[in-house]
């Protein structure tokens, strides 16, 4: 089982390694834009909880960026592999379990999400942000990448065209990017919207990353909720992979 997980991961790692330089360079673009626009530009005139706005949004940018990277790394490639390149068949024809395939793909998405987060952390320090790096922060980041890699896999198995995939992105990921405690605290929103946003995983990723990086303490509740999302989405991903046959 572990050998098969590693094999599925190995394939994605070979592909990533081949263009690691270009990959890292491309991952720098959107964080730099966020940091310039919201950190240097808009952020100079805003303080949050007596701290700078830049310090407030860095965990949010890391959360939304790792969400997008992990989701698309798995979602787009598995969807293309299922519908267009048909390379998913190579795994379906091999004597490996759907669980091994799902775990291998999700881990590959996590690897991409973590690498892109390292890029942002380095950039954030370069922009003068202050935050603590610790085990809780890394764990929250890992769980966030896992949640959205698994969601990407579920979407890839369910969406039947490239357009449907991009619609999923527009209706699910884009609103989360802006609303889930990334750029502002959802407590400022009307109660119903606040309650709704509290149900979403990215909100808890933002909370966990912000709390651990500002105080160093354990964001227990947020980590627990992310953990539940991981279990549910991995289960759903395995189920959908099992059902992918005609």
């Amino acid at each position: 089982m572990l050998t098969h997980v590693w094999t599925v991961f190995w394939r994605d790692w070979v592909v990533l390694q081949r263009r690691l330089g270009r990959y890292i360079l491309a991952r720098m673009v959107s964080p730099i834009l966020y940091l310039v626009a919201f950190g240097w530009g808009l952020g100079r005139s805003i303080t949050v909880n007596q701290g700078s706005y830049l310090d407030f949004i860095v965990p949010g940018i890391i959360a939304l960026n790792s969400m997008n990277i992990s989701f698309n790394a798995v979602g787009m490639s598995v969807n293309m592999s299922r519908l267009y390149h048909k390379t998913l068949e190579e795994y379906l024809l091999a004597p490996i379990s759907p669980t091994a395939y799902v775990l291998g793909k999700v881990l590959a998405g996590v690897a991409r999400g973590m690498i892109s987060s390292v890029v942002i952390i380095v950039l954030a320090y370069a922009f003068g942000a202050h935050f603590l790096l610790n085990g809780w922060f890394v764990l929250a980041l890992f769980l966030n990448c896992t949640v959205f890699s698994a969601l990407g896999l579920v979407a890839a198995m369910m969406m039947n065209s490239h357009e449907e995939m991009s619609n999923f992105n527009t209706y699910a990921l884009m609103p989360m990017s802006f609303l889930c405690a990334t750029f502002f605290s959802p407590a400022q929103l009307p109660a119903f919207l606040h309650w709704l946003i509290e149900l979403l995983p990215l909100t808890h990723a933002s909370y966990a990353l912000r709390l651990s990086s500002s105080t160093g303490s354990m964001p227990g509740a947020a980590l627990g909720i992310l953990g539940l999302y991981v279990i549910f989405l991995l289960w759903l991903g395995i189920r959908k992979t099992r059902q992918v046959r005609d």
């Binding site: 048909k86 390379t87 004597p95």
Partner: protein, 279 residues
């Protein structure tokens, strides 16, 4: 080696495969012949577990389906109709991935990859990305990949579709060599001459049903070894005869120009399905 009984595959109301019964012994090179949409690819997809049967029983290498999917996957090799190589990997990496998925130990895997690259004559391009390959090279690489884990049954779905005649003949040679080594081969094709050249027995499928099953020679013999063709106004008529003298006598009484030739699998096909095979 392959036993199929009462196989039915439905997609909604449409029946793609209808009560198919087949028995293919070990080492046979067997052809599934039929026009587009006859149910050949669906049959292969069900046999290779990429599609679930609606009814019927399947046994491959003594293992029954459903229930023994993982065991069957270790003894079958599949070359699909479409190219499903990983274009983000090199030829060697595609084989490496397959070998790893089948848990072949590293030393044996590397040796086997070299052997097969040699077998399909792709050693010199093994480090190149697959997307730079021609159609024939991709097809050969897919055959190498399907053979890597030493399968006992090889499924080839339209193995030569879209290939040059030279490449097609080279692939036929390759398939014959494999069958000569004891591998059971089930291939689908809608190229009549491919089935005639390669297969010991062929099954003709039409609209999901099996309508004929025998060796190409016997199918021709049953129909009549000689065929007379003549034009009657707009249409081309044909009639089958068991020997050449009878055919010649018939031509003698015709008032229009006629040709006598040996019957072939295409005649059998047209006779059974009532239409010419496309391509």
């Amino acid at each position: 080696m392959i036993e199929i009984a009462g196989l039915v595959k439905k997609f909604g109301d449409r029946t793609a495969v209808d009560q198919l019964d087949l028995s293919i012994p070990k080492g046979e090179l067997f052809g599934l012949l039929g026009p587009n949409g006859a149910g050949k690819t669906t049959t292969i997809r069900v046999l290779t577990m990429l599609a679930q049967p609606t009814e019927g029983s399947i046994t491959i290498g003594g293992w029954k389906l459903p229930g023994n999917e993982q065991q069957i996957k270790t003894i079958i090799g599949v070359v699909p109709q479409h190219v499903n190589l990983d274009i983000e990997l090199t030829a060697r990496e595609n084989l490496e991935l397959h070998g790893r998925l089948h848990c072949i130990p590293a030393a044996e895997r590397h040796k086997r990859i070299e052997e097969l690259l040699d077998f399909v004559e792709l050693n010199e391009r093994s480090g190149d990305m697959v997307q730079t390959f021609s159609g024939g090279m991709k097809r050969r690489l897919m055959i190498a990949r399907a053979l890597l884990h030493r399968p006992k049954v090889l499924f080839l779905d339209e193995p030569t579709v879209g290939l040059d005649p030279q490449v097609r003949r080279r692939l036929w040679e390759l398939v014959r060599r494999l069958a000569g080594e004891g591998l059971t081969v089930l291939l689908t094709t809608h190229y009549i001459e491919e089935a005639e050249n390669l297969c010991q027995r062929v099954a003709i499928m039409y609209k999901g049903k099996l309508i004929a099953l025998d060796s190409p020679a016997k199918l021709c013999r049953n129909l009549g070894e000689y065929v007379v063709e003549w034009h009657d106004g707009e249409s081309l008529n044909s009639r089958f005869f068991t020997d050449r003298t009878e055919a010649a006598d018939f031509v003698g009484v015709l008032t229009t120009a006629a040709a006598i030739r040996r019957s072939n699998l295409e005649d059998v096909f047209v006779e059974f399905t009532g239409r010419k095979v496309v391509e």
